[in-house]
Symmetry: none
Subunit: 230 residues, 2 copies
């Protein structure tokens, strides 16, 4: 999998925001959201999303103001305006404010997704964004399926990589066996529960100094596992 892109959804219509958020998450985007125009700027400045989906008519603060403020504050990523009023003069104003694109409501969700996927493709060349995760004395490089331990590179298989990624996303939390299997094999798989153990064993051999007394990948009997860091 490629880098995960972050999208901010700024939309006050609960229904639409829900739809957008869920669909985009399902498409593999990292989504942050707010209905509040005033809160939007903080959210965006703090999270630096790759794309902002911005409703143009918000209660409180106007989309145009938000857009302008963001640009003034040096925000350079993509801002896509969502608007119902598609008068030409508005579009020109929006472009002048630094909007990268607009979509007119109501829009087809499939088209929006195709558009975002497309924009992101052009983005991904210029991105250096590493999502290297560090834990203990190790570095996990999910893109290359590898682990650096004491300066030594250890290759991970696809499943090991996927499992470790999930653990690292949910560090210090007890992870339910079923949830984990769900993440690794998806909805209706009929893989044996023992198979998971197998992968855990192999992962432990790769990451633990003493696989018999795991320091990181601990089992929580009756529930699942817990990835302990610090």
């Amino acid at each position: 999998m490629n880098k995960t892109f972050k999208i901010a959804v700024i939309e006050d219509d609960e229904n639409l925001r829900f739809l957008l958020t869920h669909r985009l998450k399902a498409e593999g985007y990292d989504v942050i959201e707010t209905s509040d125009g005033a809160a939007a700027e903080t959210l965006i400045n703090e999270n630096q999303p790759d794309i902002v989906l911005l409703d143009w008519m918000l209660p409180g603060k106007q989309g145009s103001d938000i857009c302008n403020d963001l640009r003034v504050n040096g925000f350079e990523n993509m801002i896509i305006m969502m608007t119902a009023k598609a008068q030409d003069v508005d579009k020109i104003e929006a472009y002048n404010l630094g909007v990268s694109d607009y979509v007119t409501k109501p829009f087809n969700m499939d088209v929006l997704v195709a558009m975002l996927d497309n924009k992101v493709k052009f983005l991904s060349n210029s991105n250096t964004g590493s999502d290297i995760q560090r834990f203990g004395d190790m570095e996990h490089h999910p893109n290359t399926h590898s682990l650096i331990k004491n300066g030594k590179k250890i290759e991970l298989t696809i499943l090991e990589n996927r499992i470790l990624l999930y653990f690292l996303k949910n560090v210090n939390q007890v992870i339910n066996r079923d949830d984990l299997m769900m993440v690794v094999w998806g909805y209706n798989s009929d893989v044996n529960t023992r198979t998971l153990d197998m992968h855990i064993v192999r992962l432990r051999k790769k990451i633990e100094d003493n696989p018999d007394g795991p320091k990181y990948l601990q089992t929580v009997r009756g529930i699942g596992y817990k990835f302990v860091v610090d």
Copy 2:
């Protein structure tokens, strides 16, 4: 002084092409144009415009074909599709073909100009000079389809050249098999996946000292390949 941007207008409607050309010239763009779908590709490849305004329904060659061909041949600048039929499914297809944006006819010229001015603003930073790429002890000259290794010239076939170019653009990143095939053969090609292996093998024979233990062109099992430099 700012750079002058070059726009190619590919449109068979004499009237509209005239309007576009004159207005864009008046706005300070460098405009090249043709009404002929078949001639469009040559025009674009030779002039490398920053933006292509492409009518989607041309006599002779379809806009979709032109777009696909351009992308496959490594054209990376902006392609804006102009279309009267704005069915959702078409938009999705267009995005998949690598269109950067679309405008629906009839469009307001002021809006188009505002849009182009805006796009150009985001463009102005990036531009490369020579396209000779060096890696390891080699030089890749994509224009002449050749490789200099230890002072010796090695000829590359068109596909080898295209593949290597893509690898060198995405050095040290894991490249998905499908993405690579997409780049090499375009959107809906039905080339066998083994065919790619074949080309990889031959490319390795040309660039690697020891093709069996590749130093540069490494495979990432389950995903694709990675071109490793340094």
